[in-house]
Amino acid sequence: MQTYYDPSDLKKFGEIGKDAPELADKFFDYYGSVFADGALSEREKTLIALAVAHAVQCPYCIDAYTVACLEKGSNLEEMTEALHVVTAIRGGASLVHGVQMRKVAEKLSL
């Protein structure tokens, strides 16, 4: 079945630079630097990336960072906990706006 998302397209990511190579080079240089070992380890950074991939609901990123997390030595308990962190923030971001809802409602209500 044809779909908008094809897993084999992930390998073509580098081709995105075809018509704007300088910008792509800068992006990929930056991308590589971001994921290098630093104050956070590569393993910790891939766990963050996995969580964010779910928040932005990018199938390519979920595929890539699931593999990357396993290859960096993370396990499913850690990966699942990372998803709960992003889920808590996403849910919390909705819920905290309830403060605004309540403020407006309370102003209008007797």
């Binding site: 070992d37 380890s41 590569e42 393993r43 593999v67 396993l70 290859e71 960096k72 030595g73 396990n75 499913l76 308990e77």
Partner: protein, 312 residues
């Protein structure tokens, strides 16, 4: 005969895989094992009956007496299931500066192995233990139900004997293979993490940790095929081919003898049925180590040892 893709890759790079200075004798005592690990390249298991005979054990000891190996490395299956293991170790301990036993940790906890940890200590045997992960679920998905608790208890017991403790002279190294169809994490970062987690949660110490890719042979190959992961895994290994790993590959400095006494260039060639030399060579006929420059037979499984930082 069709050239393997690995041989073709070497040819494309103008490389040859040949023996260097042989320093290590690896002894595979048989396929009998108490576990059926899903990544096993040999298909070892409890129903396997292959075990080194007394005659071959004598040949191994005699070979170690006439050839000065720097290291002798006992593997299996589970070496602990060889009834003559104490005899073999005692016969080899004086023959080489370093004597290693590879352990799955569970076989070392069996009732029949009760005296082995102390024997290892007394003979200054180095223990290289398999532990894929620092959590129970991954460990047991690779090695079977109950393997985690037993492995932890065995490591703690080895620590009590002095293994893995600074200044004891008793080496305890860990080997971590990936729990699935993916490549291993970097060794330094993984060793740091294992050290922290095992110390924090289980009060366990060890010397070094090695991370190695799984080799697509035996039971692991069967799983790759049945799970639909084989082609992607092979592509990954081949895409990570690193020619700079060649000089340090273990097959250049090690010879492997199986339970029948037949010589191979490494345990993976043993599993693949690629013997050393043109005709089967028995250890009883081995009077000197293979010459430097002797070609090493290769197959596509060799990509597992040349991926990334390699299997040295």
């Amino acid at each position: 005969m069709t050239m393997s893709r690995f041989a073709q890759r070497l040819s494309d790079h103008g490389l040859e895989l040949t023996r260097g200075v042989t320093t290590t004798l690896q002894v595979n005592v048989g396929l009998a094992c108490d576990l059926t690990c899903r990544h096993c390249h040999l298909g070892a298991g409890p129903w396997q009956t292959e075990l080194m005979t007394s005659a071959v054990i004598e040949d191994v000891i005699a070979c170690a007496a006439r050839i000065p190996f720097a290291c002798i490395d006992i593997t299996g299956g589970a070496p602990e299931l060889l009834p003559e293991l104490p005899y073999l170790l005692s016969g080899l301990a004086e023959r080489a500066p370093k004597l290693i036993v590879r352990s799955n940790l569970t076989a070392l906890s069996l009732p029949g192995s009760a005296a082995l940890p102390e024997l290892y200590r007394d003979l200054k045997v180095s223990v290289v233990a398999s532990l894929p992960a620092v959590n129970a679920s991954q460990t047991e998905s690779q090695r079977g139900s109950g393997a985690w608790d037993t492995a932890i208890r065995t490591l703690q017991k080895l620590n009590v004997l002095g293994y893995g403790l600074a200044g004891s002279g008793l080496e305890l190294d860990l080997v971590s293979n990936p729990v699935g169809a993916f490549l291993p994490p970097g060794q330094a970062a993984t060793e740091k993490r294992f050290r922290q987690e095992l110390a924090r949660r289980h009060d366990i110490s060890f010397n070094r940790l090695f991370t190695f890719a799984n080799v697509p042979l035996g039971r692991y190959l069967e799983w790759l095929e049945s799970s639909g992961n084989l082609s992607v895994y092979r592509e990954k290994l081949e895409s990570c081919f690193n020619p700079s790993t060649l000089p340090g590959l273990m097959c250049r400095s090690l010879i492997s003898v199986n339970w029948l006494g037949i010589i191979h260039d490494c345990d993976f060639n043993l599993a693949a049925g690629l013997q050393h030399g043109r005709a089967p060579l028995n250890i009883s006929e081995l009077h000197e180590v293979p010459s430097e420059g002797t070609p090493i037979p290769v197959g596509d499984h060799c990509f597992a040892c040349t991926a990334g930082s390699g299997f040295t």
